[in-house]
Amino acid sequence: MAVTRTLRYQREADPEWTEWLRRQPGCEAFWECLQCGTCSGACPLSIYMDFTPRRVIALVREGFYRDALSCQTIWLCASCYACAVHCPRGIRITDLMYTLKREAIRRKVHPKGLPTPVLAQEFYRMVQRRGRNSEFWLVLRMALKSDPWALVRLARSGWRLLRAGRLSMRTEQIRQADQLRTMFAAAREGR
């Protein structure tokens, strides 16, 4: 029988990272968390998460950023904001999740095999280039990159959509895509 050993050494905690997180937009209030669990209770997806949202906050408060960044929780978050509207402390948990997602991608520690980060990145690339998202091509690219078998399932719904006149295979693009690219560049440079 295999047993797992779970122990956290205090040296694994990084209070500076917690401080950094606190300064990120939307993350100011997590320090006030009461650990009441309202977020998890309100979240329709918490039952699929490896850590409930409340536990994620507990992890970031204590500076255990490795657990917080590599967990599935943040990628199961559908950004529905139920936690944020119910939180008695006014913590914008959804915005905290976004920050963790960004940080996980930046550090490349997001769980492999989950298609959610793939979708996010594909979406990002497509809009970055064309200014708009073309649903058909987005889903196709995501499936090819993460789970080609899903195409079989997708084909069925795709067919229904096509018949209902809801599937467009045209690539949407804005006229001034170059203007948008200039803007991204300017924003990256900052002021």
Partner: protein, 673 residues
């Protein structure tokens, strides 16, 4: 300048004392440097810094220096004058100096606690001390005026706090007016069945006190009454009380209640306020069986006679010769003079309709804790049976703690009593129905005498304690076992698992909040409220029942959430403070009154209409007319002083020279001043 020059005493000898307040000041402000600076200021003979100026040795230091250095002005740089001005005035007086030759500088609340930057905090402290030294030079010896204290007391609110305060005062031989807005005294406590943690019957301990109020020769009890106007000041308040008609005369009624029986409405059909609408009453009713006074009341909103004028008036008939029913009664205004006031107006419970996620008002089986108090009460709408609105007996009950409390969207404070009353209700529900009871809590708070033991008892009784705040209550069934139930979705935070718990009954442990009209009362009595709206005590530790309006005291939940033992203790304290005031007979008044330099006054009358106390009159009609200020009426606001076009009104302790000197002192370091 000439005027000021004349007044400047030739031999000013100032002593300056800079307090460390342990580390409270010294950790931020360089107190040595402040004292150093003070030493160099004109007029300063001695300047010291000391660990605790308010301590006995600190005060002795001042006394000693007055003798050794022949000091005639004192500046103490320490905390807020609201805290220790009296202390240092006493110290100066003990050293043989007139107490009004002392001035305080607030370098704690206004400097060290709010400015973390050492250099800039020290700079500010130095400037404030410099300003104070310049100001104190202009101080003059003053005599205290005394006002006598009227020995009668007004108690507003007839809950347990008001009742206890009134009885304490009356037993000490003082005359008390007890004013209650409801038709009976008793307040929220009268609604409870048992009290935690001893589970003694609320009625058994409260009813005798209510009767004692009624019977006490020193207490004038006015129910259905409200304070509508307040004038005057400590020692001499003039209060106007409006008494709304009961339509049944208290002096004639024998309490036989035959009128209620005789009402043309054979069945009770209007929501009963005392039972929170869980039962019905007639238009003529007794609020509850133990009501004091034991006199029925007629509700004009539902009585046929008042609505249409076409009632057979069977109640009048039933009363017969006694003739206690007076349908012509009109509001009556009483005016009383009292020396002090105790505010004991209580609280209201949080309205859970403000949190639709808990389904109150949507699902009939969601109750507030106060409603359940009535349900478990033997004299309540169900005779103490715990049944749902449809008559079923619940087999499972969920009690949600902290409803409206500890919530930034609603009331951020902890309501203090909910954990304990939830335990009490859990015990009573379990005892009487055998139902499975779930408590959903964020933190269990049981810090009173016998409280933790009671929690332990509940744990042993098998009540569930789930640490987690319920996210929502709904009748959404995901599983056949949940059909027909209310489902609570909650993260059991100790398990780290989200649970769905179906129950028959949900109890919302609603928090305590200030009454919605506390604001009006606050204005009437000119007391302050804290940010959350509870009446503000003068000092949270050292003056917990006094307010910033002298002679007005607070007791009970109008000052903040508290349980019955704390409420009674506070009511006793408020009564004791009032007694102390009365027995002193008189009170020293701050001599900061305004006065007129008659020679300069042109009797232009600008000031006369400005004075809110009508303290100013024009005298000397025959020769040279001028304004005169009655020092007994003047409260020292200084509005007339600022408004006098000829500068002939002045104010003790706030003389123009003093204030201008202070301004100059502050700005002395600025170039170009």
């Amino acid at each position: 300048m000439s005027e000021r020059g004349q007044k400047l005493p030739s031999d000013v000898r100032v002593g300056v004392y800079v307090c460390h307040c342990g580390v409270n000041i010294a950790a931020v402000v360089d107190v040595r440097q402040v004292a150093q600076l003070a030493r160099g200021l004109p007029g300063v003979v001695v300047a010291r810094d000391y660990n605790y100026m308010c301590s006995d040795p600190g005060q002795e230091l001042i006394r000693q220096d007055i003798r050794d250095y022949a000091l005639n002005r004192i500046v103490v740089a320490s905390c807020s004058p609201h805290l220790h001005e009296e202390t240092f005035r006493h110290a100066a007086a003990a050293g043989g100096l007139n107490p009004y030759l002392v001035h305080m500088v607030n370098i704690r609340e206004h400097v060290s606690w709010v400015h973390p930057d050492r250099e800039r905090a020290t700079e500010k402290a130095c400037e404030l001390v410099r300003a104070a030294v310049r100001r104190v030079v202009w101080h003059e010896p003053l005599e205290q005026a005394r006002v006598s204290i009227h020995p009668d007391v007004l108690v507003v609110g007839g809950g347990i706090a008001g009742i206890h305060a009134a009885l304490t005062l009356a037993n000490a031989g003082k005359r008390v007016y007890l004013v209650e807005r409801q038709p009976s005294i008793g307040g929220h406590m009268a609604m409870f069945d048992k009290t935690f943690p001893t589970l003694d019957c609320a009625a058994c301990i409260l009813t005798p006190k209510m009767s004692a109020v009624q019977a006490h020769p020193n207490i004038t009890l006015w129910t259905l009454a409200e304070v509508t106007r307040v004038e005057g000041y400590v020692g001499n308040y003039e209060v106007e009380i409006t008494r709304w008609p009961r339509y049944v005369r208290e002096d004639l009624c024998s309490g036989c209640l035959k009128c209620i029986e005789a009402c043309v409405y054979k069945d009770a059909r209007f929501p009963d306020e005392f039972n929170l609408g869980l039962s019905k009453r007639k238009p003529i009713y007794l609020p509850f069986p133990q009501a004091v006074p034991q006199v029925p009341v007629i509700d004009p909103a539902t009585c046929i006679q008042f609505k249409s004028g076409k009632c057979k008036k069977t109640c009048v008939e039933a009363c017969g010769e006694r003739g206690a029913i007076d349908l012509q009664a009109v509001p009556k205004v009483e005016r009383v003079r009292v020396g002090s006031v105790i505010l004991a107006t209580g609280f209201q419970t949080f309205d859970p309709r403000r949190m639709p996620e808990y389904g109150y008002g949507i699902y009939p089986n969601v109750y507030t804790s106060l409603e359940v108090e009535r349900l478990v009460n033997a004299s309540g709408p169900t005779g103490g049976e715990i049944v749902l609105r449809d008559g079923r007996r619940p087999q499972s009950v969920g009690i949600i703690h902290c409803v409206g409390s500890r919530d930034r969207r609603h009331n951020p404070w902890c309501s203090r009593v909910c954990c304990m009353y939830s335990l009490k209700l859990a015990h009573l529900i379990r005892e009487r129905t055998g139902a499975e009871v779930f408590n959903f809590y964020i933190d269990m708070r049981t810090p009173g005498k016998g409280f933790e033991e009671f929690y332990q008892r509940l744990l042993e009784e098998g009540v569930h304690f789930i640490r987690g705040r319920v996210a929502g209550v709904s009748d959404w069934a995901l599983d056949p076992s949940e059909e027909g139930k209310l489902v609570l979705r909650v993260e059991d935070t100790l398990l780290g698992i989200v649970r769905r718990i179906p129950v028959d009954m949900v109890v919302l442990a609603v928090g305590l909040e200030p009454r919605s009209d506390a604001e009006e009362l606050r204005r009437l009595f000119r007391v302050s409220c804290s940010a959350e709206g509870f009446f503000l005590e003068r000092h949270p530790k050292l003056a917990p029942v006094s307010t910033f309006a002298e002679g007005v005291f607070v007791a009970g939940c109008c000052q903040g959430p508290k349980d019955i033992p704390d409420t009674v203790a506070q009511a006793g304290a408020a009564a004791a403070e009032a007694l102390a005031l009365i027995d002193r007979g008189s009170i020293e008044q701050e001599p900061n009154t305004a006065y007129v330099l008659a020679d300069h006054c042109s009797a232009c009358r600008t000031c006369v209409s400005l004075c809110p106390y009508s303290a100013i009159s024009i005298v000397g009609g025959d020769g040279r007319p001028h304004a005169e200020i009655n020092p007994a009426l003047c409260k020292g606001c200084g509005t007339c002083v600022a408004a006098c076009p000829s500068g002939s009104i002045r104010q003790h302790l706030f003389e123009d020279e003093q204030i201008v000197a202070e301004i100059e002192g502050i700005l002395a370091g600025v170039a170009g001043g």
